[in-house]
Symmetry: C3
Amino acid sequence: MLLIVLELIGIAVFAASGSVAAVRARLDVFGVIVLALTTALGGGIIRDVLLGVHPPTSLRNWPYLLVAGGTGLIVFWFHPQVAKLRRSVLLLDAVGLGLFVTSGTTTALAHGATPYAACLIGMTTGIGGGALRDLLLREIPLVLRREIYAVAALAGAVVVALGEWAKLPKGLVALTGASIIITIRLIALWRKWNAPVARGLEG
Amino acid sequence: MLLIVLELIGIAVFAASGSVAAVRARLDVFGVIVLALTTALGGGIIRDVLLGVHPPTSLRNWPYLLVAGGTGLIVFWFHPQVAKLRRSVLLLDAVGLGLFVTSGTTTALAHGATPYAACLIGMTTGIGGGALRDLLLREIPLVLRREIYAVAALAGAVVVALGEWAKLPKGLVALTGASIIITIRLIALWRKWNAPVARGLEG
Amino acid sequence: MLLIVLELIGIAVFAASGSVAAVRARLDVFGVIVLALTTALGGGIIRDVLLGVHPPTSLRNWPYLLVAGGTGLIVFWFHPQVAKLRRSVLLLDAVGLGLFVTSGTTTALAHGATPYAACLIGMTTGIGGGALRDLLLREIPLVLRREIYAVAALAGAVVVALGEWAKLPKGLVALTGASIIITIRLIALWRKWNAPVARGLEG
């Protein structure tokens, strides 16, 4: 139950990040909805394909599609001024990453994956939707450009796997994992943390 | 049987759209064939992965590969003058979309998917190959740029699902579904229908 | 056993090709590692998804991740001068292609695929990782631009499938298949073999 709520919130947030990016790229209303769906449902579909869940959960339950499509429509009509959009994509992306990595790791464990595989599948669930969004808009994906992206996702996934292994309450574990990811991403954005580029390429 | 014929025609048409796009991008003969194969078989492979059909149908039956590769080769040698090519891609794409959405929805139903899931998987089957084609050639996919693309696909998928639910003759249902999609797409291309872009972005 | 060793060497080589390409694109250290992982593990994950192996092998066994990530880190710190990098990507890519097509074809046969399906899945295993690498860096994939790419992969896959069918020793078959692919690719690079572009497009 908690898992489904977390996943639906994550879907709304990622749908918003996808549709804001689509509005910035000047797509029309249908393009915005398609990109909202892809960003919001892509990670979960990749997760289900890797776990062998057929057909993927989000293609079998209409609330997923409704939340993702509805969010896209809302963003299309009520999006804030264009100047603020770049920041919103990054912020929404951080929250969506936190929720998706957490729910992806928990789902993988529930399907019998080892903790090691569950961490990797959880990471992929969180990273996948945003990577599809950037690929479709012909941008180099955030996960390749943003230093602390994959690391934040991995940290949260490991916390969730450890918490489940220690049999801590699931709600607590999920919220802690998501919070860690969101906090790391927000601090990285706020402080403009930069990772080193290979030597000899500067200037 | 009807399903296989429809699918093979769809494969030929999508292979033609992929190889015409590849010729326009000045790829050599092998690049043209690879793009023909990807465009023609991509949607069906995505469908089989979502349905859990292993290995995908098109990788197990040589006619699929033969039709797709042969079409690529034919387009490479006999393609019309370059000036007319842009239009041909759009036209072929419309026919391929109609055939693939129809056969994808029918296949999903035959594998026990619910009508709801079958519609979404049918849409994905139709959209997938063309999206791969555009991604590989570094264009923003048609489905994001063309207003009535996903809607046309969805309309056809719903008609097929309803028809099968009402137990109408399969051939009739498939032809109706495909015709609806192709007609909507052609009218949209002919009338240059445009969907609204988000406010504040014009000019 | 031989299969695992071949696969790990292939992973290291493809990870190197991915991370060298990432260094050239001026990604930071985490971006380099993510691209190393994607290039190295992408082909095998696609293969496992097509064969219905859940979860994919490389997400269940830590040596895969360790080899891919470690190679990325090593390339990041010790990469040669930037000027030489373009050539290295092509060279490493040839070796990785040879090893991955071979191990992919063998794995598919071991999972009960027909020789025909095994050849196609082997090709896809070899081509997939490099195509993902190029897509993520927004380049048109090598397989579309390099004439003798898919053909070399197919030739090697057919040799492996024939060898297994004739029940020749597996080690010999694998090495022969890989050598054929690498040799064809290197000769193509060395002689700058070019395939014809469609008529009417020159100049």
